[in-house]
């Protein structure tokens, strides 16, 4: 036995791997789309925030330095997380990064009873939205890792796992 992962059946591993790659793709393209949009900014998204943390998000939008930092982290953070998940590189760090982004997005636009948003424009949600569902999926992946089976972590952590 190499590690605990060996207990998973073939079907389990492939479905977990598929989930990892799909979430990675989602993050990567969210990042790349921003990379390729000149002068992209999260300003509008932050200004649209509602709920308990809305003042915090608006404060970030109101401060040019914080806004620039938030934009940088969004653009390159999303791209990086996407790459890590697809490649299976430093997998756990990737999941933690993904979870942090998802928590921030969820809290900025919580699907509250009385809240209506300009963004996003599709879907109907009550307390649970797609960010929250994806957050749960990331948690599952965190506890059932696959990168040491399929992914660059297999090479990197070879010595440790033997």
């Amino acid at each position: 036995m190499i590690n605990k992962q060996c207990n998973n059946s073939k079907g389990q591993v492939y479905s977990l791997l598929t989930l990892r790659v799909l979430i990675g793709w989602y993050f990567l393209y969210e990042g790349l789309a921003k990379v390729f949009t000149p002068k992209w900014t999260a300003y509008g998204y932050l200004m649209d925030s509602k709920g308990l943390f809305a003042p915090l998000y608006r404060m970030i939008a109101g401060n040019p330095d914080l806004m620039a930092t938030a934009d940088f982290i969004n653009i390159w953070g999303l791209t990086l997380v996407g790459l890590l998940l697809i490649l299976g590189l430093f997998e756990k760090a990737g999941y933690i990064g993904a979870a942090l982004f998802l928590i921030l997005y969820y809290l900025s636009h919580p699907p509250l009873l009385q809240a209506t948003y300009l963004l996003p424009t599709e879907g109907s949600y009550l307390w649970v939205d797609k960010n929250l569902v994806m957050l749960a999926a990331v948690a599952v992946l965190f506890f059932f890792p696959t990168a040491k089976r399929i992914g660059l972590d297999r090479i990197i952590f070879k010595n440790k796992t033997k």
Binding site: I2, W25, P38, D48, A54, I86, G88, R149, G151
Partner: protein, 555 residues
Amino acid sequence: MSEKDSNPNEKTNHPENKNRKPVSHGRREAIKALATVPVLGAVAYGVYRKKKQETRNITSANMFHFNSEISPLSPLAPDGKTIRLGIIGSGIRGKQLMIALGFGTPQYVEDLKQAHKQDSSDNRYQDFREQEDLKIVITAVCDIFDVHAEEAIAAGANIHREGLNGQYGAAPRRYRHYRELLAADDVDAVVIAAPDHWHGQMALDAARAGKHVYLEKPMTWTVPETYTLREGIKQSGIIFQLGHQNRQVETNMRAREIIEKGLLGAVSLIETGTNRNDPNGAWVYPIHPDANPQTIDWKQFEGEPDRVKEYMDYMTSAGLAKYVGPDPRDQFRLERFFRWRCWWDYSTGLSGDLLTHEFDAMNQIMDLGIPSSASSSGGVYFFRDGRTVPDVLQTTFEYADRGLTMLYSATLASQFNRSRKIMGHDATMELGNTLTVTIDPRSEQYRDKIDNGTIKPGEPFYHYVPGKSIDAVTSATELYFAERGLLYSYVDGKRYNTTYLHLREWLECIRSGKQTSCNIDRGFEEAITAHMGTRAYLEGRTMYWDAEKEEITRG
């Protein structure tokens, strides 16, 4: 992947695999480590296809590339002198103008403060407090209704923009008659927001007294005074600004650039209009409980006798007596005092009140000038409350030399949102809070681009959202924001209203001696155009403009 696969020890025991083991194991290891790398190739391919599809957006960014970043706000001159202002007329609009200048009554500021306490996202209090000091002092006020005058005094004294129980400055002096105010030595400039029938006369008197003038629109009430005022302003050399704050709207400036670049091709039709649907929008304003013959100077409200004579001469000579009154001019009536816009005796109707805004915006964008002819129709169709001015009006202005028509279409009984449209042979521009250009399928200018697929005709091709320095097609999101007023009113993170910017420009021109954006020549064009529309409605026939003689004729 089976457990067998993942357990390398198992395979080493297989006799047949013995020799190949190191190679195949290494390859298998590599395959498993790099299995997902091709996914990146798929992402790259997808991104490439997506970018290719967006070529037309890039094309639009190139076509609509503007050299100048429009900045509505240049810093105030550092050593500008303090300007002493007189306020003539402090009713609804007069109070708004004072607020735009930074002077609100303590009650007004208190209300903003409370609104912020109840809703922390209501930043009007903060915005008002932080609004730039325009280096002005209000030394004089004049209003013929005591309550309005006292409010103006309180606002003028509220130099620190405080709520109730604050520290206030010296109170401006109240004058009972505006001519007394104009004679005051401690007044450099006046802001006039009296009813329409006083506009021309007050501005003329102010210019003759050497005071700079900010005059609310429309510029004049009668046709003859329009010429007199133009001459008077030009002779006096004062700085004159007509209150069309659309001159400060960023979208209009960008629209002008688009026209100048010829991106729409030949423009043949302009469609503008007004849609409102509430009593306030139809000029049925509240009547103040303290208003009575003792608190209102009705005599002064009646108007300047010379101007009233011009009005009556025209109405009788053109057979329009049915539009005069119906109440005698000297009879005190609260409705007529507070809702004066409903009667021709004081008003210029939809033409003067709302058409002028639309016209001036188009004049700003396209240098239209005075039309060659005007025809109108409409009537009192919804607010049958005894008013004489119509609540539904369509006016068509012909610009025969330019080869285009400007249509103005208004109702005060439906709030349906219609954008201004400038229709060209190659493209149509729609103007609201945002600007949209749609390429015409039959365009000749864009034929090549339509044929090779870089332009999809009939679909919005270019959006401009003010407040954002993005030239390319912007997202639907940003459009939503702009339409909700979240983006465009922020300059450097601060919210500005256009009236403030318009007043600011006037004050800076007084200091520098430069011309204002809505000067007397633009005002003359505005007034004559509105009068042509009004006369066409009243007389039920087309009015023509004799450009050589500078006369409105009946053709």
